[in-house]
Amino acid sequence: MMRSTGETEARWPGSAGLLLAQTGYQLKLFYRVPAAMFFTLALPLVMLILLNAVFGSDTVGEGSESQMWPTRQFYTAGLAVFAAVTATYTNLANMIPIRRDEGVLKRWRSTPLPTWIYVGGAICSSVILAAFNVIVMLTLGVVAYGLEIDAVKIPAAIVTLAVGIASFAALGMAVAAVVPTASAASAVANATVLPLAFVSNVFLSVDGAPRWVQLLGDAFPLKAFASAFQDTFNPTIAGAAWAPGRLGFIALWGVVGAVVAVTQFRWEPSGSGGRRSRRRSAAESSD
C-alpha cells in the first residue's frame, strides 16, 4: 500500500496558504476569460471616459447654486461603484455558474479542499478585482479629470466601499446559487445591474427624475451604494459624509444575499435543458 501505517501522518496544508492559492487561481482564471475582463474592467472605464467627455463640465445637484457640484466628482465616484459592482456581483454571478455547468465545482468537491476555501477564494478574488477597479477609476479621475479628494471623507469612503463590495459579492453568490444555468445567470446579472444603474445615480443623476424612478432606485442597494460613495466626493457636503442609514440598507441586502447563497448553493451542473434541468435539480436536492 502507498500509505503505510508506520509512516508519520502528513499534516493538512494550512488554511491561509490554501485560501491564498485559491484566490490566485481564481484571478488567473479571470485573467484568461476575455469576456469577463471586458465587462468587469474595461466597460466601467469606457463609461467613465465617455460620460466625462459628454457631461464633464456640467454640474449636478438640486436647489440653489451652492448645492450644485461638478459632474466629474459625481461620475468618477458613481462609476467607481459601478466598477466595484461589476467586479463582485456581475463577475461572481457569471463565473460561478459557468464553473458549475462545466462540472468544475463538482470536481473540486471531490477533493479535500474545504468548501469554504473554494468559495472564499472566489469571493476574495472578486474583492481584489473590485478594489483594483476602484483604484484605477479614482486614479484616472484624479489624473485626467481633476477629481478632488477630501481627506476628512476618506474613512467614510473606505467603509462604504467595504460594505458595498462585501454585500454585492454576497448578492452575486446568491444569483449564482439560485439561477440554474450559466447562460440564465449571466442574463439575470446583466438584466439587473444595467437598468438599475440608470435609476441609481450611476450613469446620470436622478435627483430631478419622476417619483417612480426615484422609488425604484431606492428599493435596491445600488443607489444607496452609489449615493453614499458620491457623498464622500461631494464638496457641498460638510464634514466626514457618513451615511449610516444607507450603509445599513446595503448591509441588509448583503445579509439576505449571503443567507440565500449559503442555503441554496449547488455544486452539481443542472444539465442542458431549462425546465427539465430545474426539475432535475429539484429531484437532486430532495434526496
Partner: protein, 321 residues
C-alpha cells in the same frame, strides 16, 4: 458475507436510490439503484458493467459522496461517504463521468493547484509523467484532444495518492490506441496496490482490466465474477458455420431438424446468415454438426469453435431478462 468485514475498502448492502420522476406526467419515482450489494477488496480492480441508464453513475457517485442514497448501507474506507469529510476525500481519487477540468488552465497549472489540498500528494511532474503528457504540460486543457483531456482528469484523480480510485466511464470516446495506454496506466496503479472501482460499457475494457466484474441492469447486479468465471458460467463456447449455397440443405432442416434436436446448446441464426450454437459441451455438439454434414455430403468451409467473449455473456444476460 457480512458487513463486519473491516478490511474491504467498499462495502455496500441493499443500496437503493430513487429519483423523483423527471417526466411530470408519469407519477412517482425512478428507481436508479435497486438493492445493490457490493464488496470490493483491497487492491482489487472491480468493473461495474452495464448499458446506459443501468445505474452505474448513480451508484458510484453515492460511493464518492456526491449523491445521497434513499436507503441501504454504504461504507467506503470504513466510513459513510454521505458524511465522509475531508479525511475521506484525501484518501480517495475521483474521476467523474464529466471531467470538469478548467479549459483556460494548462495541464501543469490544474495539477499544481489541485495537489495543494492533499496531505501527501504526488508531484506535478510525476503525474504528468504518469499520464504521458510531458509534451503538453504547458498547453491549455481546452486545446487538448478528448483522450488527452481525460488523462488530465485521471491525473487529478491520482495526484492525492489515493488508496481507492473511482473511475466513471474513464475511456468513453477514446480511440483504440488511447484506450490501450489508459489501460496500461490503470494496470500500473493497480500493481502499486491502489483499489479501483470503474464503470464501463465496454466489455473488452472490463475483460482486460478487472479482477472482478459486476454486470448491472436496471439498478441491480444480475451477474458477478471474474471475467473468466462469467464466460464459463454464462458463455461456454460457440460452434458456428455458414450454410453453403446449395439447394440440398435448407434453414429449416438445420433449425428444426436433426441438428437442433441433437445439440445441447441453443441454435441461433445471425443477421448475416451464420448459424451459431452456443454450448457448454462444444465437443459433442461439434460432432453432431460434422456427422450431419458428412451424411448430407455438404462442406462447411468456415466451421469453427470459439470461446465466448464477455460480450456473448452480456448479450445472453440481456436476452434472459
Amino acid at each position: 458475507m457480512s458487513v463486519s468485514e473491516p478490511m474491504s475498502p467498499i462495502v455496500v448492502r441493499g443500496l437503493r436510490k430513487e429519483y423523483r420522476s423527471k417526466d411530470s406526467s408519469a407519477s412517482g419515482t425512478v428507481v436508479a439503484v435497486d438493492g445493490l450489494d457490493l464488496d470490493v477488496a483491497a487492491g482489487e480492480v472491480y468493473a461495474l458493467l452495464g448499458h446506459n441508464g443501468a445505474g452505474k453513475t448513480t451508484a458510484i457517485e453515492i460511493l464518492e459522496g456526491h449523491r445521497m442514497r434513499t436507503s441501504g448501507e454504504v461504507k467506503v474506507l470504513g466510513v459513510d461517504p454521505g458524511d465522509g469529510g475531508r479525511d475521506l476525500r484525501d484518501r480517495i481519487g475521483v474521476v467523474l463521468q464529466t471531467s470538469g477540468v478548467e479549459p483556460e488552465l494548462s495541464v501543469a497549472e490544474v495539477l499544481e493547484i489541485a495537489r495543494r489540498s492533499y496531505r501527501s500528494p504526488r508531484s506535478t511532474s510525476e503525474v504528468i509523467d504518469v499520464i504521458g503528457l510531458n509534451d503538453k504540460a504547458d498547453q491549455r486543457v481546452g486545446s487538448l484532444s478528448g483522450g488527452q483531456a481525460r488523462r488530465v482528469a485521471l491525473g487529478l484523480g491520482i495526484i492525492g495518492r489515493p488508496e481507492l480510485l473511482f473511475l466513471d466511464e474513464p475511456t468513453t470516446g477514446f480511440d483504440p490506441v488511447a484506450r490501450r495506454s489508459f489501460w496500461d496506466l490503470i494496470s500500473r496503479l493497480a500493481a502499486e496496490g491502489t483499489t479501483v472501482l470503474l464503470t464501463t460499457h465496454y466489455l473488452d475494457e472490463a475483460e482486460h482490466l478487472a479482477d472482478r466484474v459486476g454486470v448491472m441492469a436496471d439498478g441491480r447486479l444480475i451477474a458477478e465474477g471474474t471475467p473468466a468465471d462469467l464466460i464459463r458460467s454464462f458463455g461456454g463456447s460457440t460452434v458456428r458455420f455458414s450454410l453453403p449455397e446449395s439447394e440440398a440443405v435448407t434453414w429449416s432442416e438445420v433449425l428444426q431438424g436433426e441438428i437442433a434436436a441433437q445439440v445441447s446448446g441453443t441454435v441461433t441464426v445471425t443477421a448475416s446468415g451464420r448459424v451459431e450454437i452456443s454450448s457448454s459441451s462444444p465437443t459433442s455438439d461439434l460432432s453432431v454438426v460434422t456427422a450431419w454434414a458428412v451424411s448430407r455430403r455438404v462442406e462447411l468451409p468456415d466451421l469453427e469453435v470459439v470461446r465466448s467473449s464477455l460480450e456473448d455473456v452480456f448479450i445472453r444476460l440481456g436476452q434472459d431478462r
